[in-house]
């Protein structure tokens, strides 16, 4: 018997072949809908209006246009200021929730989710109501206008707060009680313990939160669109260049510039997360916050203030949408919900949003879960899997505006056989699935990795087809994660503006775009009403999700208990 030098190839069963095929399809899907469109942005940035190659001329022109170059400074300023404020507020709030014994933590947690349920246009609208020309709180600005940096920062803080909070809550809840006991026994006071244990322990969370907020602000379009006034930022520039002036080359340049901080932030964040894992060992003892009456009271008061601001912003939009004329005629009315009066799409746009959110939730969950399954538990194809894993992470670094732009360039290109998708609901669904792919993928991958590594091997030894184990075991075990992913897709599809605003057609206009249009047209009450419809829908779906998850855990608690 001579040992064969070539590696031995296994005969592949129908099952295995199908999985191979699916993995290749997934790779193609991600390549076609992520890599190619993004490549188009880069390509367009070096061509002029007449499709002539101009090298870096567009970039030079960008830097030579004072108003555009100015936007870079503006964007950075807004991002830095908002990030500083949000991080401090979110850290305080997260600290109160995880490290004190204050009452009402559940309520505070729930209230902090408010901004996620709304499009980022909503805080802008509420700020205009409160501080605008007829705003009752205008005096607080002492002569300054809400239209401009003040409005942008306030709006962005509202919009980014829950994102920072989520990261910081996780970072602060992974505390090892033994460290605190050791410090206390060594005579370290509370302040010393905070600076030597709490803060260092949360440092990667803090770094991560800073980067996430920074990226969100620099790429957000909703807030500056509504309350930016004459204060130009990069995200609104893209919109103006592309939608206003049809200057695709310049739009692509701004898009590339927008990609930069996100990519940097993303790389730094990734490095931070790598290091985070070692922080909590298996033997750590969870920290149970002791009662400290003074600290608890102060933190409670701070949380009340922060939560009240969140509720106040939402409440303003809700209230304004339900009265005749803010702030002069407070008679209750549903008139602003008769959208057809002020926007030609009327209620259709809301219907479109429901369809978009529903399709995105279904299609997105299917693609993401099946994709994560193939990568985490499919047959070994190390090369393709590594590529797919990498591609799945990319969307996190791509701002919605840039994605929208990329999709215009790619799908609107006459030579593209997928051109037919342009202007359909299909492209909105695709863009939204891709836009929110990464977090969903990581959720699915985490759930799948927690399953015993040998389920597939056992099934194979028992001659049970792969798909049967997938449906009988894998899916039921991952159902909570699947529900989370579907909710995430649905809510984000309801609230997103940035990518969709480039891609909608009159037939497929979404509710969030309608909010934007009405606001543009000065119909602020209508915009507030439509934004409220989005909030109500997101909240309702969220409640439904809570109910389903609860029911599921009741039904399955017999086998989940360990």
């Amino acid at each position: 018997m001579t040992a064969n030098a070539l590696p031995l190839r296994m005969k592949r069963t129908g099952d295995a072949l199908a999985l191979d095929g699916a993995l290749v399809l997934l790779g193609l899907f991600l390549a076609v809908f992520i890599v190619l469109p993004l490549a188009m942005v880069a390509l367009y940035s070096v061509y002029d209006r007449n499709d002539a190659f101009v090298g870096l001329a567009n970039y030079a022109a960008f830097l030579d246009t004072p108003s555009l170059a100015h936007s870079i400074g503006n964007s950075l300023t807004m991002a830095l200021v908002s990030t500083a404020i949000t991080t401090v507020l979110a850290f305080t709030y997260a600290f109160a929730i995880t490290r004190t014994a204050m009452p009402g933590k559940g309520v505070f947690k729930a209230l902090a989710q408010i901004p996620i349920l709304a499009p980022s246009l909503l805080p802008g609208i509420s700020l205009v109501y409160l501080f605008g020309n007829q705003g009752p709180l205008r005096v607080l600005l002492m002569g300054e206008s809400i239209y401009g940096p003040i409005g942008i920062v306030l709006g962005e803080v509202f919009y980014t707060f829950p994102h920072a909070l989520m990261i910081l809550t996780v970072a602060l809840s992974t505390a090892d009680a033994r460290l605190y006991e050791a410090a206390e026994s060594l005579g370290a006071g509370p302040l010393r313990r905070f600076f030597t244990i709490t803060l260092p322990g949360a440092r990667y969370g803090l770094i991560s939160a800073v980067f996430v907020v920074f990226t969100l602000v620099i790429t957000d379009f909703g807030v500056p669109k509504v309350v930016g006034g004459q204060y130009n930022v990069l995200a609104t520039d893209v919109y103006k260049q592309v939608v206003g002036q049809q200057n695709f080359g310049m739009g692509a340049v701004v898009g590339m510039v927008l990609l930069l901080p996100a990519v940097l932030a993303f790389a730094a964040d990734w490095i931070g997360q790598r290091k985070q894992t070692a922080l909590l060992s298996a033997r750590s003892v969870p920290y149970v916050p002791p009662r400290r009456p003074w600290c608890d009271r102060v933190m409670f008061a701070l949380c009340v203030v922060i939560a009240a601001l969140l509720v106040g912003i939402l409440g303003t939009a809700a209230f304004a949408s339900l009265i005749r004329y803010w702030p002069y005629d407070l008679t209750p009315t549903l008139a602003h919900y008769a959208f057809a009066e002020v926007d030609e799409t009327g209620w259709r746009s809301y219907g479109n949003s429901l369809i978009l959110a529903g399709l995105t939730a279904v299609a997105g969950t299917l693609i993401v879960f099946a994709g994560a399954y193939l990568v985490e538990r499919g047959p070994a194809h190390t090369g393709i899997k590594a590529a797919v894993r990498l591609l799945a992470i990319v969307p996190l670094a791509v701002p919605g505006m840039v994605l929208g732009l990329a999709y215009i360039f790619f799908f609107n290109h006459p030579g593209n056989p997928l051109n037919a998708l342009y202007g359909t609901m299909g492209i909105l669904v695709l863009a939204t699935v891709v836009h929110f792919y990464t977090v969903s993928h990581l959720t699915a991958a985490t759930a799948l990795k927690q399953l015993d590594a040998e389920f597939e091997s056992v099934s194979a030894s028992l001659k049970v087809p792969v798909w049967r184990t997938f449906f009988r075991v894998t899916v039921p075990l991952c159902l909570p994660a699947i529900l989370d992913i579907a909710l995430y897709f649905f809510v984000n599809a309801m609230t997103t503006v940035s990518a969709v605003v480039f891609l909608y057609a009159p037939d497929t206009k979404t509710a969030s775009v309608a909010v934007l249009n009405m606001d543009d047209a000065g119909e602020i009450a209508g915009a507030a009403a439509m934004a409220m419809m989005i909030v109500i829908t997101s909240a309702a779906v969220r409640l439904l999700h809570t109910g389903l998850s609860h029911g599921l855990s009741q039904r399955t608690q017999t086998w989940r208990k360990r």
Binding site: R9, M10, K11, D452, E454, S461
Partner: protein, 352 residues
């Protein structure tokens, strides 16, 4: 061994990049045999088992099961049941559904088969429970029943007992062995626990660094370990360093030992003797040394005794003396006594 082996491995190689996890393993296993792959962690036992199962492809070499070359066949085209260290029970299915997972029978027949299997593993009443409601030992037996349900020709067990308490482990050793004897199914069990291999196997395959270093019955592996590594890994062993003198005897310090076999003069050797083979003075002067008891450790049925002697060299000699012997001779720390290392129990290896 009979005409055709049930399982035949020929020159099986497995490489992970530049690293060779298996370096050309060849092995025959007879029908109905209970074989243990024994070796330290990382020596390639699991890798070999997974290749037999078709779960990972070998880099080179062939696997034949029941005379059929299955080298390139997927797991489902081979005929075996497997139990993993983690058991990999499906947590959302009841015990009965777990056991029936690989069955393709009519409902009535399936229920009957599951009932028989539950009786076989001695847990007739747990069919409706979920895995998380069972103890580790019970889960292990359910995994065994699931693997046996389709009546495979080969049973593969990867460290099936290593996650269990010592008590349960002892009990299950016997149960698995009895199950094997009752069903007559060819069984391969991977373990790094030499005691497990000694008590359960018909034949032990000792592995190290991706190679088979010895195959043999438990008695043979224990009494005649092929290398010092095996001597050390299986059971307890004294290692004494010495040199062969011109008369063919072994010199340890100022003491000379006779060997039962001829030796090359001048060679450096390692002399191995099991603690239980060391005896208190036997008639005849050969291999008897005056030694002193340095320490005694009471281990229930016997005492582990540390012996030293002037001129014996730096290494102490460990001996196991039965409780009776210690009582009859009134042995105590500090006593001197003549100790014999019987020539026929010495294993002599060239020094490493």
């Amino acid at each position: 061994m009979t005409a055709t082996p049930y399982l035949r491995l020929s020159n099986v190689v497995k490489s992970f990049g530049a690293f060779q996890a298996l370096k050309g393993v060849s092995l025959d296993i007879g029908r109905g045999e209970f074989v243990c792959f024994l070796g330290p962690s990382g020596c390639g036992k699991t890798t070999l088992l997974r290749i037999i199962a078709g779960l990972d492809p070998q880099t080179a070499g062939t696997v034949e099961i029941a005379g059929r070359d299955v080298s390139r066949l997927p797991p489902s085209a081979r005929d075996y049941g497997i139990v993993f260290q983690s058991y990999a029970l499906f947590p959302n299915l009841t015990v009965a559904r777990n056991i029936a997972y690989g069955l393709k029978l009519k409902r009535k027949a399936e229920e009957e088969r599951v009932r028989d299997l539950l009786a076989l593993i001695g847990l007739p009443d747990i069919g409706a429970k979920f895995p998380s409601q069972l103890s580790g030992g019970q889960q292990q037996r359910v995994a065994l029943a699931r693997a046996l349900a389709p009546s495979p020709g080969l049973l593969l067990l990867d460290e099936p007992l290593s996650a269990l308490d010592a008590q349960v482990r002892l009990h299950l050793r016997r149960q698995i062995r009895e199950l094997h004897d009752r069903l007559g199914i060819t069984t391969i069990m991977v373990t790094h626990d030499q005691e497990e291999a000694l008590t359960m196997a018909d034949r032990i395959v000792v592995m190290n660094h991706g190679d088979i270093v010895q195959t043999g019955t438990p008695g043979a592996v224990y009494r005649e370990p092929a290398t010092p590594f095996i001597a050390d890994f299986v059971g307890t062993m004294n290692f004494l360093k010495g040199t062969v003198d011109e008369t063919g005897r072994i010199r340890l310090g100022s003491i000379h030992l006779h060997s039962a076999r001829p030796l090359t003069p001048g060679a450096d050797v390692t002399v191995c003797v099991r603690p239980e083979d060391v005896v208190i003075h036997r008639p005849g002067p050969v291999n008897t040394i005056d030694m002193r008891i340095d320490a005694m450790e009471f281990l229930g049925p016997f005492h582990r005794v540390r012996l030293t002697a002037d001129g014996f060299g730096p290494q102490p000699l460990t001996a196991d003396f039965s409780a009776n012997l210690v009582r009859d001779h009134r042995l105590a720390t500090g006593d001197r006594l003549p100790v014999t290392l019987p020539a026929e129990h010495l294993r002599i290896y060239p020094a490493a």
